[in-house]
């Protein structure tokens, strides 16, 4: 279980005016600004749960991940992960935790991944049998068996991410921090990584915190999401609820058998007062309130001769973007 209470983190950063004069000035007198990366965060994650951490760059996602994994000290607040204070860096904690950063590699560049794994086996003191079992399982799931003896720097970005995932999971951690594991990957590789995480969860069920800018990652893997903005949580709840709460409209799209003669009279005869309707050629699009979707669809079917009809959910990415922009939820 992860428990975070009133967590804050402030960084002290010095500023410098541009140019040479600015550099000389900053040598003698420095102006510091205090950047609040996390403001009074509260969070609880139960065993086996996975949450998606969303937010724009600089929202504090990485800072939170680094505090939970024990890399940096918080300024204030209490944190307990599996019953440990992460920044005490107790070996018993570190043995049960894994951190994967999409932008940073842990395996040694010049060596084949397998060499790196052997080193990790020693570091985590993984028994031979368990090591071989994990190795087989992970390399099979990720379909990377033939690449383990190739120098890491000669692997493609997608393959490199896969071996990084293997490296992080060999010791069968109970809590896993995934910081943008699909960053920069092509669609196929992204999908492969997602599928793998899904399967891995089914098998081992660790606590996971997933940070990603790709909504597909979040949608497919997480039921619960936390949205961050400027160091605070602006939403913490289920992904479905976001849809319920914020996706107020649905899009009804219809193709007509022939273009309407008079667009204005068609609009009038449909009489959809509280919806926006656009008609172009033989396409009609209606942004309808959720509860009126049936009624409007029926009206449409009665009024026009329709070739094709579809009802779409609002894009979750767009909803979240709106929430982040407006900064209000909960």
């Amino acid at each position: 279980m992860i428990e975070v209470k009133n967590l804050s983190k402030t960084f002290k950063v010095h500023t410098k005016e541009p140019g040479f004069i600015g550099s000389v000035k900053s040598l003698f007198s420095r102006k510091y600004i205090h950047k609040e990366a996390l403001k009074n965060i509260n969070l609880q994650i139960n065993d086996g749960e996975i949450i998606g951490l969303i937010g724009s760059n600089g929202a504090g996602k990485t800072t939170l991940t680094k505090i939970l994994s024990g890399i940096i000290h918080p300024t204030n607040g209490e944190v307990s992960v599996l019953g440990f204070d992460p920044w005490q860096r107790d070996n018993r904690y570190r043995e049960q935790m894994a951190l994967i950063m999409g932008q940073k590699a842990q395996l040694w560049w010049d060596l084949p991944a397998l060499d790196g794994f052997l080193l990790l086996k020693e570091i985590y003191q993984i028994p031979e049998a368990q090591f071989n079992k994990s190795l087989d399982y992970l390399s099979e799931c990720l379909m990377i068996k033939d690449q383990l003896k190739v120098q890491v720097r000669k692997l493609s970005l997608g393959e490199r991410m896969k071996v990084e995932l293997m490296a992080a999971l060999l010791h069968n951690p109970k809590v896993v921090f995934l910081d943008e594991p699909t960053i920069g990957l092509d669609l196929t590789a992204q999908k492969a990584v997602r599928e793998f995480i899904k399967q891995y969860r089914k098998e081992f069920n660790p606590i996971m915190i997933l940070t990603s800018h790709y909504m597909e990652d979040i949608e497919e893997l997480c039921e619960r999401v936390v949205i961050m903005k400027e160091g605070s949580f602006i939403y913490d709840g289920s992904l479905n609820e976001i849809k319920q709460q914020f996706a107020k409209t649905r899009l009804i799209k219809a193709s007509l058998n022939q273009s309407p003669d008079n667009i204005e009279s068609l609009k009038a005869s449909l009489a959809l007062d509280d919806s926006s309707i656009t008609i172009s050629d033989n396409e009609i699009a209606i942004h309808s309130p959720r509860e009126k979707v049936m009624e409007y669809s029926a009206k449409l079917l009665n009024t026009c001769s329709i070739k094709d009809l579809s009802i779409q959910e609002e894009d979750i990415g767009e909803i979240i973007e709106t929430i982040m922009r407006e900064g209000k939820a909960q």
């Binding site: 680094k66 890399i71 860096r89 060596l111 052997l118 570091i123």
Partner: protein, 261 residues
Amino acid sequence: MRYVKLYIHFLRFSFSKAMQFRVDFFFRVFMDIVFYLVQFLFFNVLYLHTNTLGGWNLEQMSIFIAGYIFIDALNMTLFSTNCWWFPFYINRGDLDYYLTKPVSSLFFLSLREFAANSFLNLLIAIGLLTYMLQTYSAPLSAGTVVIYVFLLIVGTFLYHLLHLLFLLSVFWTGSPRGFGDVYFAGVHVLERPDRIFKGFTRFVFLYILPFSIMASYPARFLFNENPIEVLITIGLITTAFFCITLFVWKRGLKVYSSASS
């Protein structure tokens, strides 16, 4: 013993890497042999004008030189490359992964790269030292020689600790240079017999920046000059600097905010 196993992995990795660059490999060895010759030549010239320096005759001085060459080679082989990388790990935030592993991060940072191309130099240094010890005119017991070599190894360790201590300033200054360069000035002190320094300078080089302890004190032990006092001093100073380094490291980690990704 787990750390020994880890180190064997480091060795394996480093050798396979070093062998890829053959020219570099042999050139380094050649350069260092020239460096060693210059050291001996320098003192041989000095002894044309005097019979003793810092209380030692040429024969004893030659052992002392071989001793610090051994320290230098051992340091180059085990620690030097790692120290070079150290500030980069901190500034680029690479320390992150080390901190999440259930082993000593300092062990990792100090020893992960074994300089295989300096290893040949270490063999040469061992050869030199053996030769000097064998041709020494006064009798030396086997036990004394063993302790002497052990003290040289301790000296190397102290040398590394001091280097680390200077490098750790990077947590606060953000710059890999500055304090680090002070250390390189200290290297010259290591290469001189401790007794040529007097008064305050001597105090500094024995207790504050203990470069004079590293090679000179083991030599004094070998030549039976207050051996008990020598042993105690080496033991205390090394322990003290070990604790200080650990303390500063822990403080540094608190400051370490790690470059955001």
